[in-house]
């Protein structure tokens, strides 16, 4: 017979039974075909080596949930904003959930403060991400004066800013309470807990209540003619923060934290929303990138900006029909999700858990 065609020699490598006996017999006695077969086998082996995929395929359950969420949306074709970023700062890997709770509460406060100064009447209904760097956070602290606040904050007080005076008062100090029922009674917040926490999450280890905080900014003449003389009042909270311990063998590590807070609301006695926004965007020291992120928020009166530090991934999802922001570190060591439910409560779930576990907890309580 003629020499064996190269496609047949190739198939002989993979599916020898599909190749006619005649071709195989020819190959046995033909040096030219054997040489070609060797070359083909080498190419096939090289391709197999470099193209073989590892068996790791990810979390099918989570992917199915994410797919359903996308299919439920009118813009299902649009990929959610997942932004892989640079290397994760090492300290993020070591962060504890106790600190995570603080960060989450801080996120709510900073988000509330940042958003509130943008509007005269501010009552957000949904969350949205704002990418921030460490530089951006320092700039926010400097501009708002938060960075100069003492760590042992008194229930009420005031401080001077370059553009006016900032004062605050609270309905009491943050305190640990004995039960969720007590926390709900003090704050008038319902606090659903997940019926089936993720594997490795133990019992509730602490319940903390943060009473309502009212922050007032009185703009001085140095703030510029548009906002000078105006007073902006922002209310944040009350809030409940619950921490869960680990199961046996995980010691006293906090594995999961859940926060619920009434949404921040702001009102102004004078300056309009656009004037306040212009004021914020014109602050000396506001990084250009952050300014752009704020502009991209769209309607500032209805959006609660959630600072997302560089190095973390974000995923826009839905919890109970409300827009949610899932933030995770690329290595899957820690994740958090934040959303606002239709009753005006901002919810946060975070922990040293992967995104599937955090997302599932959020779905159970959302």
């Amino acid at each position: 017979m003629h020499h064996v065609p190269s496609p047949v020699l190739r198939r002989l490598e993979d599916e020898p039974l599909a190749v006619p006996d005649l071709a195989r017999r020819h190959l046995d006695g033909c040096g030219r075909c054997q040489a070609q077969s060797t070359e083909i086998a080498a190419d096939a082996a090289l391709a197999a080596r470099v193209l073989a995929s590892p068996p790791e395929i990810g979390d099918i359950d989570l992917e199915w949930i994410l797919l359903q969420d996308r299919l439920s949306r009118p813009d299902a074709d649009r990929r959610p904003a997942v932004r892989p970023s640079r290397r994760v700062p090492r300290r993020l890997v070591n962060v504890s959930v106790g600190a995570g709770t603080a960060v989450l509460a801080g996120v709510l406060a900073v988000g509330g403060a940042a958003a509130a100064v943008l509007t005269t009447v501010y009552s957000p209904t949904q969350v949205a991400p704002v990418r921030v760097s460490a530089n951006d956070l320092r700039a926010i602290e400097n501009i708002t004066g938060v960075g100069r606040l003492p760590s042992n904050l008194q229930p009420s007080g005031s401080m001077r800013l370059s553009f006016g005076e900032l004062s605050w008062s609270t309905a009491g100090r943050p305190q640990q309470v004995s039960s969720l029922a007590s926390a709900s009674a003090m704050t008038h917040l319902a606090f659903p807990t997940p019926p089936t926490p993720p594997s490795g999450v133990g019992a509730i280890s602490s319940v903390e209540v943060q009473p309502l905080v009212t922050v007032t900014v009185r703009f001085s003449q140095s703030a510029g003619p548009a906002v000078a003389g105006s007073t902006l009042e922002i209310t944040v909270g009350p809030a409940i923060a619950v921490q869960y311990g680990g199961t046996s063998g995980r010691g006293n590590v906090t594995t999961l934290a859940i926060v619920a807070a009434r949404r921040p609301v702001a009102s102004s006695t004078g300056a309009t929303a656009s004037q306040l926004e212009t004021f914020v965007l014109s602050r000396p020291g506001l990084p250009a990138g952050l300014a752009q992120e704020i502009r991209l928020l769209g309607n500032p009166t209805s959006v609660l900006p959630v600072p997302v530090p560089s190095g973390l991934w974000e995923l826009k999802e839905q919890i109970g029909g409300a827009p949610a922001l899932l933030v995770t570190d690329p290595n899957g060591f820690a994740s958090g999700v934040i959303w606002e439910s239709g009753d005006g409560i901002v919810h946060g779930v975070g922990g040293l858990l992967d995104k599937q576990d955090v997302f599932n907890v959020a779905r159970q309580i959302g």
Binding site: S6, P7, V8, L9, R10, R11, D14, E15, A18, I40, D43, A44, L46, A47, A48, R49, V50, L51, A52, S53, P54, P55, E56, I57, G58, I60, D61, E63, W64, I65, L66, L67, Q68, D69, R70, L71, S72, A76, D77, R79, V82, P84, P195, T196, P198, S199, W313, Q318, G320, G321, P330, N360, R363, Q364
Partner: protein, 181 residues
């Protein structure tokens, strides 16, 4: 606890019932689709993104795929093509970024092939191959039989060997000729 956890996962999303006819298909095909995508993009997160896009499109075509071999072949081919689109976009970006790059003489073939086994080089090589060649390579080397590759690529089974042979030869040459950057 595990059973109720899984039950909850499957039942909790709003509107889940309307996707129930698609779920089994998704769960059966997802591993193959992610593997194919990963073979091209070389990154787990990117492969999962590709898989999501593939199944979004698949749902529009086959909302109730049942045991359809056509749907099965379609998602696998779509995984290869979508992933190839992703790395071709990446290649275009790299080209723009490297417009001022300095040319470095190529190393000997053997040494180059060994270096080129890095995932990045493989992705670049794949992105330079003709689309069908790259697709048939990825599909075959992620476990599809000749018949399945033929179904996915809409070609005759007898033609798969020809395509595969040419594609593997082209891949080797691309890897050997890969510029060392």
């Amino acid at each position: 606890m595990e059973a109720s956890f899984m039950t909850h996962l499957r039942s909790s999303p709003p509107g889940a019932a309307s996707f129930s006819g698609f779920e089994r298909f998704f769960r059966e095909e997802y591993p193959a689709v992610v593997r194919i995508a990963f073979g091209v993009v070389g990154d787990a997160q990117a492969a999962q993104d590709v898989a999501q896009d593939v199944f979004i499109s698949a749902f529009k075509r086959f909302p109730e795929p049942g045991e359809s071999d056509h749907a099965r072949a379609w998602v696998r081919a779509a995984a290869a093509h979508t992933a190839l689109n992703a790395i071709r976009g990446e290649r275009r970006r790299e080209r723009r970024q490297r417009s001022a790059a300095v040319e470095v003489p190529a190393a000997g073939p053997e040494e180059t092939v060994l270096d080129a086994e890095s995932r990045t080089e493989v992705r670049r090589a794949l992105s330079r191959l003709p689309r069908k060649a790259a697709a048939v390579l990825v599909l075959r080397h992620n476990g599809l039989s000749y018949a399945e590759v033929a179904e996915a690529m809409n070609v005759k089974v007898g033609h798969v060997g020809t395509m595969l042979r040419r594609a593997e030869s082209a891949l080797r040459k691309e890897l050997q000729n890969a510029p060392r950057t």
